[in-house]
Amino acid sequence: MSQIKKDCTSFQELILSLQKFWSDHGCVILQPLDMEVGAGTFHPATFLRAIGPEVWNSAYVQPCRRPADGRYGDNPNRLQHYYQFQVILKPSPSNIQQLYLDSLKMLGIDTTIHDIRFVEDNWESPSLGAWGLGWEVWLNGMEITQFTYFQQVGGLECFPVAGEITYGLERIAMHLQGVDNVYDLVWTSGDEGVVTYGDVFHQNEVEMSAYNYEEADIDFMRETFNQLESDCRRLVNKGLPLPGYEMVIKASHAFNLLDARHAISVTERQRYILRIRTLAKSVAEAYFNSRSALGFPLASKEMADRAIRRIGGKSNG
């Protein structure tokens, strides 16, 4: 049983505690992806590693950008930039729910006081060609975590299945600190006094909302999207799925900005999503093939052989 730390309630201690917890459980602790993403799922450590037979356990914090959620720093709960803590366990262990609950206890959430619930919530990302089944986890009625068993990623069946745990860090911190406004969260308290979430990010929310809603250059974003799309195709054709995937991430963010600028009609929107999905699928397949060519180094021999047989079977059939 992990011991409860005295002060893991500051925002940064929360992140450090989760990293320590999952590190102790054998996860590869990674740093955030240095690109704009809408969710921790976009990190190659989740999206790409969920593909194929290889074993993969990893955890990392990921800043997320959702341009259309900006509220110019006025809304106590909505942010266009916020943090997720992402855990990916593949294959999903049979005690994955218990591990998660242990992590909450470690953070100081008393499960004999609070009402914790796994409420059905099925996840689908049309632009990533991905879906999974699972729950949102409720803490006294507040959604604090997304819990998903990936079934398909980039149009490919997941086998083995990866379990994804996505903690909403701000919400958990607000609960731990008993705070109603995200900007009042204590980021850390040092010798110079308290530094709040607002001190760190409020100005950013105000200015980035202005950029997302008013200033982002629509024509440039459209051109960027087109350029990224053709770059992605070229890279995948050259057997470079990893750089190809970076193009997908960037294209997706360009799309999100166009959406926030209300520059996309309903029908056009569908088409954009389809274009991203096509890219994501081609990257997923190319990545699978590149790992296969390496003999799936992180998979057991049995699982690797099985996966290779499956593709063999497919191309013969």
Binding site: V119, G141, Y149, M303
Partner: protein
């Protein structure tokens, strides 16, 4: 005999599927035992978020043995000419342990051939022979909406399986279910109960779990929640509004329900009540309260799944969640009000109704045109109906309806009122979605009725027109429901309309359809009229009553309905059986002896028998009498009058030979029978009431 228990332990199950799964599981296992001739007394189903289980009490240990006959070689082969057994005969005797000397007694007839036979008793299956396979089959036959895999397993289920308990008496049934070995171990509440629980006897299962803070019985939990809600409401002098489907959902999310009362800021009460309720119910699964005048109170009841050491912390947490939710609702409402529905209608041009049927904007255009035609039939104001038709879908592009789809129409009414539209128009916008489900209210105002009819006609014709009509259990556009809704509106408001004609009118709005209009309208007409079947079944009206009316191929639903009720009443008259039989007899006679001239008058000079004369008189008299009654659709009165024919018809058939050799007399009598039959046919084909032999 012993009790049988099977429990499937899982990670949290989807609440809306839970009871379906549990019942299907129960039915499959119970029927499996029954079909294998096992007896048992009572069964019980258990369902919580983390388990489904069933208990069969006093299940036979073994099914009764069965006597089976094994047929052997024909006697010709089994015995030689001298009657001695041959090698084949001896082999059969040996194989079935029949003494050679009694072999000649074991001869019987099988499919027309003399053959040797042997009788033996096949012992019945034992529970342990059947249980594992039965449970496996039951699991794979579950109606799982979306299956998943987990870990490195190849099998699929609704959520990952955690444990399997199978007990018969105090014995574990040795089984392997989806990679797990069955045991007698179960688990209690996630947070109240730490350890494994060993179940010694199936009948102790429920109490074992209760001790471990799990109420396994779904209906008991539902009752508990419902009464806890009412108790809290009473304490604050409010009335709790308990929606049945929300109650079911909440029951499926709890193993140990504890009701708690929370509150929110009074200022939110300025937001339309429905929006606040949706916000609480859909997102948070809260129950709301009203005062005795039906006004919303700034309170909510949440059902937690724990007996908390400090429930005030749970309440505070929930209050912290509902505040931003309600602020969102208030924000949506205030932003939405800034744009009129008329202006928003433009945005409907980019929203697809159905790919081949164009945008929602185009639909509102079609509805406006159709409303002009339907409004006079319903006695509604034409120009206001058209106005309502134009605006009725505009709220689909408001933020509020974007967030809460169930508020479509309701928000439209609020926003229309805010825009200064006429109250009738605002009301109609809300009403045109009614009825939303089978027992829902129907529109009350004339314009609402007009619009509700138009909307359903347009959708029916359009979807049938592109070949997407319901087939089997697939009904993606819920046409079954809209058809029934259409019928309810027409009948409950006593609207006389020719359904075929109005469908034709609706079809003129859909110019892009490829199939021929007449054909589509006939298809829709048949489909909608078919909905009556289920309707009357539910009302306990026998199918043949409906068939007797539908044989008339009528297009006016109200007229059909009145006839069906009249015939149904008629079937309870003492004369009904005689008259139905007589109608059938007449119909048979007429079919065998077709008349050339149906409208020929009866030649009175040819009527020689008194009963023939009497019948003619009554028929002619009734012909005149029923005309005005038919006009006002008083079919029961018509049938009451026609009941007077029972005795004269009986007398007629007793005394008179219809099919005589004399041509003139025969034709004259057939004409009489034809007229008689026509009297009844003006209401329904009564001959169809005669039960099939």
């Amino acid at each position: 005999m012993a009790d049988f228990l099977v429990e499937i332990g899982t990670e949290e199950l989807p609440p809306k599927a839970l009871m379906n799964l549990a019942n299907a599981f129960h039915d499959h296992v119970a029927n499996g035992f029954k079909n294998n001739t096992f007896g048992f007394s009572k069964t019980k189903v258990f369902a919580t978020p983390r388990r489904i289980a069933i208990l069969l009490e006093n299940l036979d240990k073994q099914a009764p043995s069965k006597e089976i006959t094994i047929w052997g070689p024909p006697t010709k082969i089994a015995f030689d000419a001298a009657g001695e057994p041959t090698a084949a005969g001896i082999a059969f005797a040996k194989k079935n342990s029949i003494p050679i000397e009694s072999l000649s007694e074991m001869v019987g007839n099988n499919q027309g051939k003399e053959k040797l036979f042997s009788k033996s008793k096949k012992p019945g299956l034992k529970v342990e022979d059947l249980a594992e396979n039965l449970i496996r089959e039951a699991i794979s036959a579950l109606p799982i909406p979306k299956k998943m895999r987990w870990g490195s397993n190849a099998f699929e289920f609704i959520r990952p399986l955690q444990w399997v308990l199978i007990l018969f008496g105090n014995k574990i049934i040795n089984s392997q279910i989806m990679g797990l070995k069955a045991s007698n171990i179960t688990y209690g509440h996630r947070f109240h109960s730490k350890n494994q629980i060993i179940v010694d006897e199936p009948r102790e299962y429920e109490s074992c779990l209760r001790e471990a803070n799990v109420i396994a019985c779904f209906s008991e939990r539902r009752e508990l929640i419902s009464s806890a809600i009412k108790k809290i409401a009473k304490k604050v002098c409010g009335i709790a509004i308990v929606d049945a489907s929300l109650l079911d959902e909440v029951t499926a999310l709890n193993e140990w329900p504890v009701a708690l009362l929370g509150s929110f800021d009074r200022e939110f009460l300025e937001v339309p009540t429905e929006a606040l309720i949706s916000s609480m119910a859909e997102h948070q699964k809260y129950f709301h309260l009203t005062n005795t005048d039906g006004e919303l109170l700034p309170l909510f009841i949440t059902i937690s799944n724990i007996e908390s050491k400090d429930s005030s912390q749970i309440i505070r947490g929930n209050e912290r969640v509902i505040r931003p939710r309600l602020s969102d609702a208030a924000f949506f409402y205030n932003t939405d009000k800034k744009t009129t529905l008329e202006k928003r209608r433009e945005s409907l041009k980019s929203i697809i109704f159905q790919e081949q049927l164009g945008t929602i904007y185009e639909k509102t255009d079609r509805l406006s045109a159709l409303a002009e035609y339907i409004a006079p039939i319903v006695n509604a104001d034409i120009s206001l109906s058209v106005r309502a038709a134009q605006l009725c879908k505009s709220d689909l592009v408001t933020d509020m309806v974007g967030e809460f789809e169930s508020l479509q129409g309701i928000m439209g009414k609020y926003y229309a009122t805010n825009d200064g539209e006429k109250p009738e128009v605002a009301e109609a916008i809300q009403e045109h979605y009614l009825p939303k489900f089978s027992k829902d209210a129907i529109p009350k105002t004339a314009i609402g009725i007009t619009l509700a009819i138009c909307d359903r006609l347009d959708t029916l014709v359009g979807i049938f027109g592109i070949g997407q009509q319901p087939s089997g259990s697939k009904d993606p556009f819920a046409l079954r429901r809209s058809s029934l809704g259409l019928l309810r509106i027409i009948i409950e408001h006593n609207i006389n309309l020719n359904l075929y004609e109005v469908l034709k009118k609706a079809a003129t709005g859909h110019q892009q359809l490829q199939t021929d209009d007449d054909q589509i309208c006939m298809q829709v007409l048949t489909y909608v009229k078919e909905r009556f079947r289920a309707w009357y079944e539910e009302e306990g009206i026998p199918t043949e009553v409906f068939l007797s009316v539908s044989a008339r191929n009528l297009n006016n639903p109200l007229d059909i309905h009145r006839r069906v009720y009249a015939v149904h009443t008629f079937t309870r008259f003492p004369e009904a059986v005689t008259l139905a039989a007589a109608n059938k007899r007449v119909s048979n006679i007429l079919a065998k002896n077709p008349l050339k001239d149906m409208s020929a008058p009866i030649n009175k000079d040819l009527l020689c028998e008194p009963s023939e004369l009497a019948l003619t008189k009554i028929v002619e008299n009734l012909e005149k009498k029923i005309q005005p009654l038919l006009q006002e659709q008083s079919y029961t009165s018509v049938l009451k009058l026609l009941s007077g024919l029972a005795i004269p018809i009986d007398n007629f058939f007793d005394d008179v030979m219809v099919v005589t050799d004399d041509d003139e007399t025969r034709i004259n009598r057939l004409v009489l029978l034809h007229k008689l039959r026509a009297l009844f046919l003006q209401v329904a084909d009564i001959s169809l009431l005669v039960p099939e032999r």
